[in-house]
């Protein structure tokens, strides 16, 4: 197998991947995101020299940068630890073909050198080095320094895989970091200064570029050794299975005939990465209120307060609700052919969301510290979320027909996204603001709060009727959903 064939495989993997088959809107969005990132890095690379000159006028910019280089390395390392994984799973089909394990190992490692993270670093390093040359820095110093930086980027790349793979590396690095930060914090020994000096020595003595090169070779070799030993089906290519733990959820039985679905949803959230993270984020968003309430200016703008109230009590509603039938996408055809009336299915989702709004409201009670108006408005927003926003989210969710893999992380995950997710935001946040603002402008904040709450109560009173209508819509979209959820994208 030649390099060309490997590249060919890679090419097909990229262009035929699920990501690529996504709707045009998401493609454009992702494209813009990528362009934005590239642009931002380029911008930093171009202005970095001038900026350093301006902020540290008495020092040489390259010296300043060298002093701070260690922080960049640490940040990269931490980011990559969480975001970058060595892609070994897709080499399974190659194992039985006539390709030596030596080649496969090298291929996987070399490929990782071309990862998004590494390429991104180039976008600031190259322009910065060019500005250095333009400002009269000698090529004999800049070029080796550039090569050293590239080596460092790759060292970070490979070091990350080692840390990810073997706990011993993780603890070793963690230990070194803790000691270094400790020494620095208590002013015993300033590690960052030493590192800065080291990088400056590296810049001034081109011959020393050999050091990062040697380190790079070493980490590459360690990775090679590590990976080579793992190229067997049972060693690392097989995904780990976790031991199943059964929880006692009989307490949900008091909710009557929606109890089985409620139990199912709780297990769904608890046992799968994406819904679990969604819930976690909703709780995190509770703190979002601090951002609004601690700012006196914001406290005076009514619109902001309504935003905050809807957000805080409705975060789970919007995050979980917008993907409603999608959560069950992997077994939707079963749900549709089993003895389940659709209405009961939706009732249980509505019940779960209502429960979440109540819990989030209870958790937000401490915000009464910022004035009882805040508490009253949050209560009104909670009522509104239950009465109006919940049926509305369910209604718009009926447009969903994209499959979701429950085990994928929600970070930067556009799976399951469709027009529904874009449409939802306007009525979700805009409508309550309008409902609040009109009485607020006509009379005062108290009346406006009461009106908002009352609108919610009216929604709650008509809940049955609304859910009946929504059930009909879900029924009419059933075939499209079943077909859509079958597509593996």
């Amino acid at each position: 197998m030649r390099i060309k064939q490997f590249v060919n495989l890679e090419w097909k993997q990229f262009f035929r991947s699920a990501n690529f088959g996504k709707s045009i809107a998401i493609k454009i969005f992702m494209g813009f995101m990528a362009l934005y990132m590239i642009g931002a890095f380029l911008f930093v690379g171009i202005i970095l020299y001038k900026a350093l000159r301006k902020f540290f006028p008495e020092m040489d910019p390259i010296e300043v940068l060298n002093n701070y280089l260690i922080y960049w390395i640490l940040i990269e390392l931490v980011l990559r630890y969480f975001l970058q994984k060595l892609p070994v799973l897709n080499i399974k089909p190659l194992l039985t073909l006539t390709v030596s394990r030596h080649k496969i190992t090298n291929y996987v490692l070399t490929k990782s050198a071309l990862s998004f993270f590494n390429v991104m670093s180039l976008f600031w390093i190259i322009p910065f080095c060019i500005t250095l040359l333009f400002n009269g820095y000698p090529v004999i110093n800049v070029l080796p320094w550039f090569v050293s930086l590239i080596c460092i980027v790759l060292i970070i790349n490979f070091l990350n895989f080692l840390i990810n793979k073997k706990n011993i590396y993780f603890y070793a690095i963690l230990g070194v970091l803790t000691v270094a930060i400790g020494l620095e914090y208590y002013n015993v020994f300033e590690v960052s200064v030493v590192c800065g000096k080291a990088f400056n020595v590296l810049y001034n003595n081109p011959i020393l570029t050999i050091v990062p090169m040697v380190i790079l070779t070493l980490v590459y070799y360690l990775n090679y050794k590590n990976l080579r030993g793992l190229l067997f089906l049972d060693a690392s290519l097989k995904q780990k299975t976790e031991e199943a733990k059964t929880q006692d959820l009989t307490w949900t039985n008091r909710f009557g005939d929606i109890a089985p679905f409620l139990q199912l949803d709780l297990k769904l959230i608890w046992r799968n990465k994406r819904p679990r993270m969604t819930v976690f984020l909703s709780i995190l968003f509770l703190l979002y209120g601090l951002y609004f309430y601690t700012n006196d200016k914001m406290l005076e703008i009514p619109v902001i307060l309504v935003f905050a109230g809807i957000f805080i009590t409705g975060m789970f509603l919007s995050n979980f609700g917008q993907f409603i039938p999608c959560w069950d996408s992997s077994y939707y055809s079963m749900m549709m052919s089993q003895n389940i009336p659709l209405r009961k299915y939706l009732d249980s989702k509505a019940g779960l969301i209502t429960f979440s709004v109540v819990v989030l409201f209870l958790l937000s009670i401490p915000y009464v510290y910022f004035g009882w108006e805040v508490l009253a408005l949050n209560f009104a927003c909670a009522l509104y979320n239950i009465g109006i926003n919940m049926p509305m989210v369910l209604l718009i969710s009926s447009m969903n027909k994209k499959r979701i893999d429950l085990e994928k992380s929600p970070m930067m995950n556009t799976q399951g996204m469709s027009a529904a997710q874009w449409i939802i935001i306007f009525p979700f946040l805009g409508l309550p603001v309008v409902i609040y603002l009109i009485p607020y402008l006509l009379s005062n904040a108290i009346i406006a709060t009461v009106v908002l709450g009352l609108v919610g109560v009216i929604g709650i009173l008509f809940r049955n009727l609304l859910l009946n209508k929504i059930t009909e819509i879900y029924r009419s979209k059933k075939y499209a959903m079943v077909a859509g959820f079958k597509e593996q994208n």
Binding site: L268, S330, S333, Q338, L342
Partner: protein, 235 residues
């Protein structure tokens, strides 16, 4: 029990299924055979109202399948792994299905105890989620789940595929027992001619969406089917 009239399913202009008339009486064990793309799964999906017919209809116990949901309480099925909930343990899944079909835990346990040898100690009490079971074991769990709640109609798509020989033989026993002793209408599709002829009292051959043979099983049936599928049959 199940009446199919003028049923057809078209994608764009391509007809994938076209059945003028098919009557399956109560308590019959019914086998559907055909090559890939013959329309077996399409027919079962129509029967479960997972896709919409282009024309015609299916009546399940006098309930129009694509208009009412009333066929659901007495019909159960296992089509593929998408009928399993991956993040549940097999026990949780069985109890969940039991809940849907009005069976309490004790009822479900009583049913499961009959399938100890079918499970072969690989399903219950394994502390594993369904998504982590092997394909064969997933299938076993799915098939048994389809038997929960005394359904009158059971639909199994390719039940023998992916199963080990011992389990295949046991499954044949289970299916025969359902149709002969309990009067359940069992619909089975398969690529394996031997298994279907062993199990089903009636076999229908589909080819490109059309019924080309409708046989009552007897000693000659297997031979006849083999000749048909080897393509050497004189027309």
């Amino acid at each position: 029990m199940i009446t199919t009239s003028n049923l057809s399913k078209k994608y764009a202009s391509k007809t994938v299924l076209n059945i003028d008339n098919l009557e399956i009486p109560k308590g019959q064990s019914f086998g559907l055979v055909g090559n890939n793309g013959a329309g077996k799964t399409t027919y079962f999906s129509l029967l479960l109202d997972l896709i919409q017919p282009s024309s015609g209809h299916i009546k399940n116990n006098d309930v129009l399948v694509h208009e009412s949901e009333d066929w659901k309480p007495f019909t159960s099925s296992f089509i593929d792994e998408s009928f399993l909930i991956g993040y549940l343990t097999p026990e949780e899944y069985f109890y969940f299905i039991g809940d849907l079909r009005g069976q309490n835990k004790a009822d479900v346990n009583a049913l499961l105890s009959q399938f100890d040898d079918f499970f072969h100690g690989e399903i219950l009490g394994q502390k594993k989620y369904l998504r982590d079971l092997s394909k064969g074991n997933q299938k076993k769990a799915g098939i048994v789940a389809a038997l929960i709640g005394n359904p009158e109609v059971i639909i199994l798509d390719e039940p023998f595929a992916n199963l080990d020989p011992t389990t295949q033989i046991r499954l044949k026993g289970i299916i025969k027992n359902l149709a002969e002793k309990q009067g359940v209408t069992v619909l089975v599709s398969s690529h394996d001619l031997m298994h279907v002829t062993d199990v089903c009292e009636r076999i229908v051959v589909l080819e490109k969406g059309e019924i080309v043979k409708d046989l009552a099983t007897n000693a000659e049936t297997l031979k006849e089917l083999e000749t048909h599928f080897s393509g050497s049959e004189s027309v």
